[in-house]
């Protein structure tokens, strides 16, 4: 590029350049260089990295709730265990099934019509889970268990609500990719968005199982 300056050539021994002293180990970060730009242009790695980073943040968010749960339960005398409506278990099955159908659809990515069908099923299962969770809330409210009733019920609503908000983001992403796929099929080459959304979805699935175990075994 003409607009950038050309630095003067350097005529020295460069062996030691750019290293701070020899003895301290460098954790392997002194390799040949950065990832640079791959032959296919922009590295798709960043979506994957970005998703993992986002999940780390989300994990901290839920860790804060969970530690608050443990602390608040430990020191209270007003804790009345919330019995989980049996519908919760059915919802859980739906969510687990959605992870399986998601994997199924990723497996048949090259066959677009089969992929679309499994993907659609995943989306529907996810949405059904959300609807089921709302029904659970309504059942609890019908039984007179409100968010303000006692700390256990407060946490039940907060945890399921926070998870639901995150999961509805997932459902939205599933639906969005379904729409995109209809216009312009992904196929196995251009699969990054599919894989990244799958990471998120499985994480939300696993997160739900963890929350459920907490809410069930540590009432």
């Amino acid at each position: 590029m003409a607009t950038t300056i050309a630095p003067p050539p350097v005529e020295i021994e460069l062996e030691d350049l750019g290293r701070g002293g020899g003895g301290i180990p460098n954790l392997g970060w002194e390799g040949p260089g950065g990832p640079g730009e791959g032959a296919e242009g922009i590295s798709d790695n960043r979506y994957r990295t970005g998703m993992w980073a986002a999940l780390a943040g989300i994990l901290m968010f839920f860790t804060a709730f969970i530690s608050a749960y443990v602390v608040r339960k430990g020191l209270s005398n007003d804790w009345i265990p919330t019995s989980l409506p049996s519908l919760v278990w059915f919802n859980t099955l739906l969510l687990l099934a959605s992870s399986l159908t998601l994997e199924r659809s990723r497996h048949v990515l090259s066959d677009n019509s089969r992929f679309s069908r499994w993907w659609l099923l995943t989306t529907v299962l996810g949405a059904a889970f959300l609807v089921g969770q709302v029904v659970v809330w309504r059942q609890l409210i019908g039984d007179g268990v409100y968010i303000s009733s006692n700390p256990s019920s407060s946490f039940f609503y907060v945890l399921t609500g926070a998870h639901g908000v995150h999961l509805s983001g997932g459902v939205f992403a599933l639906g969005f990719l379904l729409f995109r796929n209809r216009q312009n099929p992904f196929g196995s080459v251009n699969r990054t968005p599919i894989d990244v959304v799958a990471i998120y979805w499985h994480f939300m699935d696993g997160l739900w199982i963890s929350l459920l175990l907490l809410l069930f075994f540590w009432r």
Binding site: G20, E37, A64, V158
Partner: protein, 591 residues
Amino acid sequence: MGEAVQAHSVHEAPAGFIRKYIFSYDHKVIGIQYYMLALFSVFLGMTLSVLVRLNLAWPGTEVPILGTIFPEGAPDGVMTPEFYLSMLTMHGTIMVFFVLTTAPQSGFGNYFLPIQIGADDMAFPTLNMLSFWVTFLSLVVMVAAIFVQGGAPISGWTAYPPLSALGEIAGPGLGTGQSLWILSVAIFCIASLLGAINFIVTTIDMRAEGMSMMRLPLTCWAWFVTAILALLAFGVLLAAGVLLLMDRHAGTSFFIPGGLVVSDKLIDHKGGSPLLWQHLFWFFGHPEVYIAILPGMGAASHILSTFCRKPIFGYKAMVYALMGIGFCSFLVWGHHMFMSGMSPYTAIVFSLTTTAVAVPSAIKTFNWLGTLWGARIQFTTAMLWALGFVSLFVTGGISGLFLNQPAVDVYLHDTYFVVAHFHMIMGVAAIFGIFGGTYYWFPKMFGRMLNETWGKIHFWITFVGVYAIFMPMHFLGFAGHPRRYAELTSFEFLEPLAAVQKYISMFAFTTIAAQFIFLAIFFWALFRGKKADINPWKATTIEWSVPTPPPHDNFGGEFPVVHRGPYEYSVPGAAEDFVPQTAPDVATAKS
């Protein structure tokens, strides 16, 4: 550039004013937007501190305009105690979130991280734009809290429940104002999380060929570690904020214990734990302190090396120290809570972990001094700020050695000693980092030079001023002066200290006035300043080998290739006293 890798840009150069300057995807525009938001906020925060200092030194002063704007909080222009506490709360909140978190990380980081690592933009430009506008929304909500019925909250930037959870009954500003405050902080958390993801991915995946992690400028390391801290910390604050809002509006009792009687009225809550909030808040709050100061350390290192004309001393030690500080910052939150009623055993543990964090901080100081050793120091304005940073970092850091010992903290906790400590280290030192960055990078960002002479005048008044303001606060702490007191008239032991408060206020006003020098030279230079070259400081890192100001994709379609570490100054045998990171390797020609 000698050689370069062809690549296509992430997005096309925008057309039209709105796409270009308002809803821009360009990291450089977004960086400047963040910087301007911080500039607005710092003057707002400073205005609030003027009111705070005025009320402390000359209580009862009539400020007619205040009476007009705030007939409730300042009837006839005389500040009430609750108005004082509102201003105090907003001063802290705005400075911490919208200045110290925003300017050095989101401002400079957004502008220079991609350029310094040889990328054409952040990893996710749209997300980047979103982060800024969410931050903007957060600021709007925060400022709105000042003007609602009852005024801004009076619970301090730490918003300890039950005070912050009970609503208007516990005091003015704790109704709508407090709710907006929590909402704004929650929005800010979301914006910071989005920003943090972007910084992390950009650093990991967007580096140019040859830019290994151990060739990153220390600024990039600082932004990277800061982003990790933000990612892990802000989620926790967000969760805490959600719980606090629930306590206020959904009738839950996470933080509100049972049997409270406020203003002779029994409160209908039970079983909650005020300490739970403190744990969650400080789990965020302590990393937040480092979120404010680490980018300043990065900028100071960068500037020191440039104007010492010398490689940074102990680059690797600096990197590991950054990581060490970042890691330790998650293990020390309890030192804010020695007097809170938590287990005295945990206090000892937190005391020791806090001592551990002092070690990497000392390593940084030694390495800065090591960089100065044998240097050829050029006293540019940016360099003065960096040197000032080192001085303040030491002064603000060592007072931490009092506060990390629970026994000594018994006396000093919540006195002006603490105010002195955190202002020195995370307030003023961080601000010095920001100013250093501004004087250093302004030519690249805006294509013009800031006035060095006026810049130095600005520096000297500010440097002497901050010592004159905050040194005496240590002494107030020695005398046991509690912080957050609106008036000093109720206690006999405070009477002799009023003179010190007056003196501090006078220096505060002088120093604040000097900041208008900065404002003036900033805007003057923006339009009238001397045109800047590509590399006015003869520096080595990549931002100084791209045009001024950089084109839309930073490199004109060709990515740089990096050949060496970031701080190759005064290399023996080189034609000039700096060797840019992108200068091609011709070493083999030596024989």
